[in-house]
Amino acid sequence: MKRELPLLLTAVIGLFMIMSFFVPHHLVSVPADFLQQCAVIMVAFGFALGGANALRVNLESIARRQPDWPYKLVLVVSLLFTIVIGLHDGRHWQDQSTWSMFLYNNIYSPMQGTMFALLAFYIASAAFRAFRIRTVEAGLLAVAALIVMLGRVPVGDAATNWLPEPLHLGVMQDWIMNVPQNAAKRAILMGAAMGVMATGLRVILGIERSYLGGGD
């Protein structure tokens, strides 16, 4: 029963949610909306569970003075401080004068921006490796990338204006992006869509049940 009940619930609710995609009647759409709201509430409870896990794991590391424990101390203090500030500001936390918004604007947002900015350097190093021409395929990739990069900036297009139109870099990069690139992308997307359906079906029908844990 411990395994059958979750499998039954998954099957019934999964098929019902599929049905709600095709049936707009309120007898189906209203319960479907309700179930989705239930999922949101469950996620909210899950956050309490996740927060408790984060606290437990990091407090244990601090208590045992594991390597890098000061970082974990910073994490725990920040976590608790943010919770206290959030509780203090309550439902007005989005007002401009609150501590929550101060933390968001002056600590959280700049840190996120910093992390995102690192991407520029990583792209440069990844591109350097990607465009090393070792094989014919890598050569084709490098040439295509060069055409696309130059064709997307005005100077690249202007430099080839004297050539016949099909040889303009802008026209060539448009063709690369719209024809071979798009074809490959759509093929991957369609394959992935089939995979999504297959995985969903396996879960709904209880064929894929490893997520229940405890072995078969």
Binding site: I18, F21, F22, V23, P24, H25, H26, S29, A39, M42, V43, G46, F47, A48, L49, G50, G51, N53, A54, V57, E60, P67, D68, Y71, M111, Q112, M115, F116, L118, L119, Y122, I123, S125, A126, A127, R129, A130, I188, L189, M190, G191, A192, M194, G195, V196, M197, A198, T199, G200, L201, R202, I207, E208, S210, Y211, L212, G213, G214, G215, D216
Partner: protein
Amino acid sequence: MTNIGGLRRVGWSGLLVFGLCAAAAWAQVEPVPVLEPEKPAVAVPAPPSRLSYDDVPNDAGSAVRLTWRLSADDTLGRGIVSGYVLERGTSPVGPWTLVDSIGFGIREQVDAGVSRNVPYFYRIAAWGPGGTTPALANAGPAIARETWFNTTRSSVLAVMLAFFVLVLYFMSLAQSGKKPFVRRLAGIDAIEEAIGRATEMGRPVLYVPWIQDIDEIQTVAGLVILESVARMTARYETPIRVPVAYPIPFTIAQEMVKSGYLNAGRPEAYDPDAVTFVSPEQFAYAAKIGGIMLRERPAAHIFMGSFYGESLLLAETGFSTGAIQVAGTANVHQLPFFVVACDYTLIGEELFAASAYLSGEPRLVGGLKGADMLKLFVILLILVGCVLETMGHHGLTEWMQTQ
């Protein structure tokens, strides 16, 4: 000299008297009004006409579509009509509630704020600089009715049913002993190689099921693969680290890892701290993973799931540590980053096939065959669609369009 001095005095006195007189005259003169060209009076716009309504089909009875003929003054450049005011009431005499203020030149509006099976009356007026014209008449009763089936999605239903039938058929075929052939997937084979290498080096394996919640099917696929990976790490007695971004996948990941250790026959080796909750914030999560990579130096990094802007941050950081990296995602825009920075990459559907491939269970492998057959069907459908469109027949294209 005396005469000259007298003349000068007379001159100054005259100038003074002239100045005083001029000042007095200026003070009494009223300012002359500046003549401005007279503006022609802007006319009140002519009212719009022929307001008609119809129920929006294939919905839950929540919308009415309204169309009307534009005001005769609604022509570009005349500036008589600024827009229209559409109002709704539950009786022909009101009271009226504003539905929307609509710009000039627009002939149609969908009122999505109605209740099903309730009769509504509508009226529309034009307004402009000259004022608002009264509505000609009202239209109604308009009743939004709900339907049991959205006919615009019949193509989706047909393809889905075909898919279900194919998958179930090949599953039953596989169960009866006719297990279909599945080509080798280098990326999945590499997972065991990576775990073996981590074992040799005495370092942990890092498994990243990424940042989306459980409603993202790629997260489900990533978590299903986790069970197989955990089974391998249990067999090899290699520690596994699974930082998770969302709380629901966190609990499922715990179950997956526990299940993997149980299925490998080593439940006592399961470490409850192997799976940790981090943060659903994208870059906070990426920072944590980067920290694990640089401080704990896992020998194998496995990224399976839905990835976005952080994919390259993770893969490049991992590359710099020299770990063997296997990635899998169906997010097309992130695939190039993984291809560049990882040793092996599962592309698109391979991610979803991985759990069947790893488990080798006939029913799961049969499902793959079913999906492949549907792919063949879709390819044929695309070819037929191309031929029909070329011949000027749009029936199939229109049937495939959904709303």
